[in-house]
Amino acid sequence: MDRVKTSALSGAEIVVRCLQEEAVDYVFGYPGGAVLFIYDALFKQDKVKHVLVRHEQGAVHAADGYSRSSQKVGVALVTSGPGVTNAVTGIATAYMDSIPLVVITGQVPTHAIGLDAFQECDTVGITRPIVKHNMLVKDVKDLASAMKKAFHIATTGRPGPVVVDIPKDVTAAVTEFNYPDTIQMRSYNPVRKGHAGQIRKAVQLLSEAERPMIYTGGGVILSDASELLRELVKLTGFPCTNTLMGLGAYPATDRQFLGMPGMHGTYECNNAMQHSDVLLAIGARFDDRVIGNPAHFASNPRKIIHIDIDPSSISKRVKVDVPIVGNIPDVLDELVKLLRAAPKPDISAWWKRIEEWRAKDCLKYDRNSKIIKPQFVLEKLYEVTKGDAFVTSDVGQHQMWAAQFYKFDKPRRWINSGGLGTMGFGLPAAMGVQLVNPGATVACVTGESSIQMCLQELSTCKQYRLPIKIVNLNNKYMGMVRQWQQFFHGNRYSESYMDALPDFVKLAEGYGHRGILVDKPADVEPALREAFANKKELYFLDFITDQTENVYPMIPGGKGNTEMILSEEL
């Protein structure tokens, strides 16, 4: 271990020095008793800037959005007890989507641990199932190496959140500060290179395929392999799909892109997934929202090649023929090299079938509606922002429409909670996105229900002058819940109606922002233009949309990928 030697520092100063060493520019947090020394150390320096959120959940989501949109690790700082329990949803959200975060949590002093002290909770125990790793640092001498480990573990292999729990007395204790340059762990050595023999097998299968399909997920975004993916798709001429977590890895405006797969994926994509004879999965995990019923999915025999950094993702839900464990860019690099020399299969008949499926135009909706259609708002959002915005979302119908209608051509532009499905994610995530991409256009697509889950962050947006544009698709329903109740629960809309909604325009104004109520289709574009032309202020655009609109296509739970419910428009 190489060590940089400096003078004696307090634990709190060590924490801050470690953040400086890791070139952390923003920490999202909320102070409290157990972290007072750390806040004091932050106060005495100006390299690491602190963003004061209004609720700890917002801190973690903001750090998460910061990371997703920048490739950097996100850092959050919260106090013990309720600070931690409030942060739990944020940590679990990041864990499900493999986002590298370091979450520093205060803890009661070591002598008080286990005695039900004020604001004490078992942080390591509570967060254990929702972190890549966590640790309680009981000795100030271990603090610097624990911080180094946290950053190392969070960012390498399959990324994920790491919690470092630091008792208050440890932040006060003093020791020599030695920040290791590197860290060696005998129990943790993620692979990089893929197995050469397996890659050759993959090339063999791909060069003989009649109905190939490339299916990629969040792993391609996280490993920054989008360029290589584009090269691969262009080289092969194969059709390609990106999951909800993978949108933007391949340009959505390209013809070889078939849209998103899964529960609300396109007709052409789900059919191509089902009828392919060789499926190349890259950094995707065949989750239940993507493949539907696994037995139905497996009913069509096809060869599956699966590239992933995490061995446990392979053959978890679907049996894989050619597993390749490795870092995606390393593996794709090899794969592309070999494919250049391999024969190219003739797949014109396959493309013909795909074009027939595509001709179904499965995302069609009523464009002559007198009531604002949510899809229309998203199409206009795409036009007005020229497809170049960072778009965060909450969870529900608006999320699916955004994924379907905003054509992402670049990676790290689409920021959403895919795995955990956390309502309330969108606004705080947008704060992180805006801070790490100053000057960029950031839209938060949300609904009247989701936005109310972390609404308090409007205040943070004001404090840090974040000119986020909130696109609120207001149908006065928890739309996705309502949709399921319509389809599967006999139109009994149990508790899904959002009554007593605030006047969102006044609410935004109350926080010092701007708001516009839009209730006519003709007003959609002008409102968007006004909002996005303003680079200084946050706009809350409250679009009153069709209450009965549903997201199509839809694969009902337990059904197969080709058993889609299609829009009545078709």
């Binding site: 390591v124 125990g125 254990r128 199932p129 890549k132 790793h133 640790m135 309680l136 573990i153 762990m185 005998r186 129990s187 943790y188 995490d310 061995p311 446990s312 053959s315 978890k316």
Partner: protein, 163 residues
């Protein structure tokens, strides 16, 4: 199918709860779990007896390997191995039963390690089935208390699990 999984794990606080937590969170069975430090005090060795289909057991070993504190994992039941469990059993041994009970312990190669006026405490080592058989062989009314350690295992011959 029954599997015997051996794990080398960093001797860190909370390592046991990570492993136990993984099994409960993902719905895997634990029949028994034993753990103690090895000759290298920085590491513990754990033996978990579990059951599940091949797919499930493959996931169990992958998920275990994914835990940061886990150094190595091996499914001992994939090849020749030895397994042992220790049982301490307290039985009724008054004047009438004393001789029979001593003979029974001898047959199973148990050792009497504590004696009182009306009890014996017998120490018995073997694989789980042998311990079961001993319990079966006793008059059920004679058993006062049993405690078992759970199974420990090691590979045969040159098969070793170490760093």
């Amino acid at each position: 199918m029954r599997h015997l999984i051996s794990i080398l794990v960093e001797n860190e606080a909370g390592a046991l709860s990570r492993i136990a937590g993984l099994f409960s969170a993902r719905g895997y069975n634990i029949e028994s779990l034993t753990v103690a430090p090895t000759e290298d005090a920085s590491m513990s060795r754990m033996t978990i007896v579990t059951s599940g289909s091949d797919d499930v057991v493959e996931q169990i070993t992958k998920q275990l390997n994914k835990l940061i504190d886990v150094v190595k994992v091996v499914d001992l039941s994939e090849a020749e191995h030895i397994e042992r469990e220790l049982m301490l059993i307290k039985v009724r041994a008054g004047q009438k039963e004393r001789e029979d009970m001593k003979r029974m312990a001898d047959i199973f190669r148990g050792r009497i390690i504590d004696v009182s006026d009306n009890t014996y405490t017998i120490e018995l080592t073997g694989d789980g089935r042998k311990l079961d058989a001993f319990i079966q062989a006793l008059d059920q009314g004679a058993i006062i208390e049993t405690v078992r350690t759970g199974t420990s295992g090691i590979g045969r011959g040159n098969r070793v699990l170490r760093v």
